[in-house]
């Protein structure tokens, strides 16, 4: 492609990216702090390399450093960067810019902020071609072709739209189209699907995989999600505290990990089928070393259960454990025997007799909510009826916009449900609005929010946050308050010495513990958990899930557990409710819902989730976007995307929620036995669905 550098190897054989002993520092309050500690990695042409690690490990810094595109307080202090064989650090600024604009593309996590909100999609994509010197109408034509390549079914229509008129998934496709438009040597993806629903994520990942085949692009894929890396990459590097601690083919690293950190990470994830009554999740003790801390030995020493004296003094060399699999651990042979940090003993000693025999702590009948928006009626939640027994967990799953959070707010009284909705606590109907409920009712129903940063007042000390809840809900005051406070923080494993800190001084995991303590302050009967771990790293997530499971057994608390992570939901839930467009599509015991026969929507949801265990089932593609609440499809609301579409009956008649097996309900025209037989094999693709789904996809989502 370029001949100006005689020294560079021919482009076709040069590695797309080669980092050698790269050290990056950030200047913080006048002092240089090391963020990357000698990162070496290489990506061969056409190869896909995954970089994985918890937040703060330096994943994104590595990506920015690879383009020598660091923030103003950052610098590369040593090492070398070669992109397509060219030494980036030896190039002039102008040459680096040219290289960035022609050979490297980057896709970020949030597509909406990557696109200019005031420019038509078509013009934004065409701009990439214009920069290459392609003229007006041809640039437009090529833009359209590119949008077609990323499987946008109505490219002409989409080109005339603005980013805010498209859904997140569609926008990410547009960003990918722009990234690939210049046919880059290296494509960097920084958490490209983290903000997307599982079903959309699956589609976007499929798309990236297919395009990689077609374009032969090398990929640097950054993600905290091990499953995604496993599915997308050939090689993987595990980053910890700015150092690659293990590297190899994904197969090797994930199935034969040779570094305790990798082993720990893999153990934190609730495995497919893992359940709270089978055992606790393992966690990684301790915390990430501080920014720029001097670490003479192994970076992971402080958190490692296999640690020996040598680990603290001598930095482990790179051990080649076979077939290009590298581990930076003195004791790589024993890595897999890493002792567990938590006892594997099951949380529940015995399940309460039959949970359905007990009086439900909460039951709802025909709960619905209609929002009025510019004269439109938007039915966010439609006729939800369910019960929850003491000590039971009901998992609530569904794509974003399915009404999960609205339903939670309705139960809590933060949003007032429509007339005719009934919410009963312990068999007594309660008022719709929180202000009209008595203290007893208020304290028996509490919530743990998704984002502890927003849920804890950042001006208050932890003591005040929890103490106020105790005073208001239980009337605890004075000396008694101090005692209760200590008990409560102890029960959520929050170090009481930190009680005077403000939330901003705590890590995400600790903040979530405070939020949990607050929810439990009033000795609640039901706690709504609204994605309580989705803002946390996997090792912290495991600890929080263990805590929730433990508190549940101790206090006989019922949970309404909302999550988009099906592994997490399955781990904690006894029963599962699947929501789509505000309607209950399926409800039943966790094992029942997670296995066939299941509602076609549940089937599709489950098949979208990648698994580290490699238990790959045939993928069911849900084409098209979630329809709008303001104008839901006729008949069965799912018929526009249903992989098991029967025929006209689905379009004209809305199926009732019927009990197909004892305790197992669904809203589908199919008979349970029919589906059982059908679901032994993947559904055939319905081209006609793809078309209608695509058109809908072009409509602005609400």
């Amino acid at each position: 492609m370029t001949q100006e550098l005689a020294t560079s190897a021919p482009v076709s054989t040069a590695n797309a990216l080669e980092l050698e002993d790269l050290e990056v520092e950030y200047k913080v309050r006048g002092a240089w702090k090391k963020v990357l500690r000698g990162v070496s990695l290489s990506i061969a042409p056409g190869e896909s390399y995954g970089l994985v690690g918890e937040s703060g490990c330096g994943k994104s810094t590595a990506a920015f450093a690879a383009l020598n595109y660091l923030p103003r307080n950052g610098r590369v202090s040593s090492g070398s960067i070669h992109v397509a064989g060219k030494d980036l650090l030896a190039m002039s600024d102008a040459d680096v810019r040219t290289l960035r604009s022609t050979q490297v593309s980057m896709v970020y996590q949030n597509p909406t902020s990557a696109l200019n909100p005031t420019i038509h999609i078509g013009d934004q994509v065409a701009e990439v071609f214009t920069l290459q010197g392609v003229g007006g109408s041809e640039a437009q034509d090529r833009a359209k072709a590119m949008l077609q390549k990323v499987q946008i079914s109505d490219p002409t229509g989409v080109m005339g739209r603005y980013p805010h008129q498209l859904s997140g998934g569609m926008n990410q496709r547009v960003v990918i189209a722009m990234a690939l438009a210049k046919d880059p040597t290296l494509l960097m993806l920084d958490e490209p699907t983290t903000g997307l629903d599982a079903t959309v994520e699956a589609e976007v990942l499929d798309l990236v995989a297919a395009l990689r085949q077609e374009f032969g692009t090398s990929v640097l894929f950054i993600s905290h999600n091990l499953d995604v890396i496993l599915r997308m990459c050939d090689k993987v590097g595990v980053l910890y505290a700015g150092r690659v601690v293990e590297q190899g083919t994904v197969d090797e690293v994930f199935h034969n990990p040779r570094h305790p950190y990798t082993v720990g990470l893999l153990r934190c994830i609730p495995r497919a089928g893992a359940r709270k009554d089978q055992g606790r999740l393992d966690t990684i003790p301790g915390f990430l070393p501080g920014l720029g801390e001097t670490l003479p030995g192994c970076v992971f020493a402080d958190r490692c259960a296999l640690v020996q004296d040598v680990c603290r003094t001598d930095e482990p060399p790179l051990y080649d454990v076979g077939a290009g699999h590298i581990s930076r651990c003195h004791f790589h042979e024993q890595a897999q025997d890493l002792p567990r940090n938590t006892s594997p003993v099951a949380v529940t000693e015995e399940r309460p007799a039959e949970s359905s025999d007990r009086v439900p702590v909460i039951s709802t009948r025909n709960v619905r909510k209609t929002f009025h928006q510019d004269g439109h009626e938007v039915r966010a939640v439609e006729d939800i009826t369910f019960t929850l027994a003491p000590g039971e967990t009901l998992g609530l799953v569904g794509e974003s916009g399915s009404g999960k959070t609205t339903l939670a707010r309705l139960l809590l009284g933060l949003t007032t449900p429509d007339e005719g909705s009934v919410v009963e606590l312990d068999g007594v109907p309660v008022a719709g609005a929180i202000g009209k409920r008595d203290r007893e009712q208020v304290r028996s129903l509490q919530i743990v929010f998704q984002n502890p940063d927003a849920a804890l007042n950042r001006r208050f000390s932890i003591k005040r946050i929890i103490g106020r809840a105790l005073t208001m809900l239980m009337g605890t005051r004075g000396e008694q308050l101090d005692t209760r406070l200590r008990d409560l923080t102890h029960s959520v494993r929050f170090d009481v010495r930190l009680i005077r800190a403000k939330p901003t001084q705590l890590s995400g995991g600790l903040k979530q513990r405070v939020a949990i303590a607050r929810a439990f302050a009033g000795d609640p009967k039901i706690v709504v958990c609204d994605e309580p771990t989705s803002a946390l790293d996997v090792s912290v997530q495991a600890a929080i899930l263990n805590l929730l499971a433990e508190l549940q057994v101790k206090n006989d608390t019922a949970y309404l557990f909302i999550s988009h992570d099906l592994g997490v939901v399955r781990y904690l839930s006894d029963r599962i409710a699947v929501l789509y467009l505000g309607r209950l599509m399926e409800l039943g015991a966790a094992e029942t819902v997670f296995g066939p026969p299941q509602h076609p929507y549940t089937e599709a949801l489950l098949s979208a989730v990648p698994h580290v265990d490699g238990d790959e089932r045939p993928r069911i593609k849900l084409t098209g976007e979630i329809p709008s609440h303001a104008d839901p499809p006729s008949g069965c609301v799912f018929h526009t995307r249903c992989p098991r579409y029967i025929g006209d009956i689905c379009k004209t008649e809305e199926p009732d929620l019927k009990e197909v097996e004892p305790g197992h309900f669904w809203r589908c025209h199919y008979d349970v036995d029919e589906l059982r037989t059908l679901q032994q094999s993947a559904p055939e693709t319905r081209p006609e669905i793809g078309v209608s789904g695509g058109q809908r996809g072009a409509e602005p989502p609400v």
Binding site: I284, R468, D495, K502, R518
Partner: protein, 304 residues
């Protein structure tokens, strides 16, 4: 740690991703020091603060600093041009302009801050209520504020003087009344964001009274914009005090108020008597600029 959790089977120690406890106690102080350091490192803020400090000293110790009695008239020395004895010259009744400028800082530095504090208190309360309730309350109050803002300050001042009589308190009241809605708007915008935060829902789930949610939960989180708004409005208030005095609606003679001095002498400029106008005018300008520079510095420090 192991001992304290031993009653729980398989208890975790303080877990993954925690802060290191040893750093927390110092961290908050460090953040405050950082903010102060930023302020003091900002040249704009420091220069502004120095200018304001000079005038504050004049306001407090004016009588001691002033070389002459600012009220003593001397018909024989009227309109003396600046010279060694009277560096700023004398005014039309022979009073020392320098002394009057020095002592004149007092009125404006009492009236403007009090008015701004009142405006900030009312405006913040109004902003909290309208931002939190939105809906009908917000609509009604917002329309009222719009209508009120459409009236020029001078008209309101005139109305107030006519009905209440001219005095310092009238000026304070007028400025507080005019500025409160403007501050309310800024605060309202901040509250609109805060009310969506889940800590507000959490407070509702404790059955907190609305006043508690507004003033204990939300208010501390909007103090940044309130502080910035206060300093910005203080600059405007100084200017407004001077304007009202200049128009004769404000502080009354024989007070050595700067605006009043300009008012009393501007007719004489065409006759070549520039000094009784220029020096008080410069005083107003430097004070306003000083306060605004401080406001800029504070705004930047709070933005972080």
């Amino acid at each position: 740690m192991t001992a304290s959790t031993s009653d729980l089977p398989g208890a975790d120690p303080i877990l993954a991703g925690a802060v290191r406890p040893d750093t927390t106690s110092t961290e908050e102080r460090a953040a405050q020091r950082e903010r102060l350091r930023l302020l003091l490192r900002s040249k704009v803020f420091v220069v502004g603060a120095l200018i304001v400090l000079v005038w504050v000293v004049c306001a407090i110790f004016g009588d001691a600093i002033a070389p002459n009695d600012p009220f003593a008239t001397d018909p024989l020395k009227d309109l003396t041009s600046p010279n060694g004895t009277y560096p700023f010259g004398t005014d039309r009744v022979g009073r020392d302009v320098l002394s009057r400028v020095i002592v004149g800082a007092r009125d404006i530095l009492i009236v403007a801050p009090i008015a701004t504090i009142l405006a900030t208190v009312f405006g913040t309360a109004l902003g909290l209520v309208t931002g939190y309730f939105r809906g009908a309350v917000d609509n009604m109050l917002s329309r009222f504020i719009d209508a009120f803002l459409a009236l020029p300050t001078v008209i309101i001042g005139l109305l107030a003087i006519v009905s209440l009589g001219p005095s310092r308190w009238t000026v304070i009241l007028v400025i507080a009344l005019v500025f409160a809605p403007i501050i309310a708007r800024t605060v309202r915008a901040a509250v609109l964001q805060e009310r969506e935060m889940e800590y507000v829902s959490a407070a509702q789930l404790r059955n907190e009274r609305t006043t508690y949610i507004l003033f204990a939960e939300i208010l501390p989180n909007v103090m940044g914009p309130v502080m910035v708004e206060f300093t910005v409005r203080l600059g405007y208030a100084i200017f407004t005090v001077a304007t009202l005095s200049f128009l004769g609606f404000g502080i009354q003679p024989p007070a050595p108020d700067w605006g009043l001095q300009v008012f009393e002498h501007y007719g004489l400029i065409s006759g070549g008597y520039w000094w009784p106008v220029l020096f008080p005018a410069l005083a107003i300008a430097t004070l306003v600029i000083g306060v605004n520079m401080m406001a800029d510095g504070i705004a930047k420090a709070f933005e972080r």
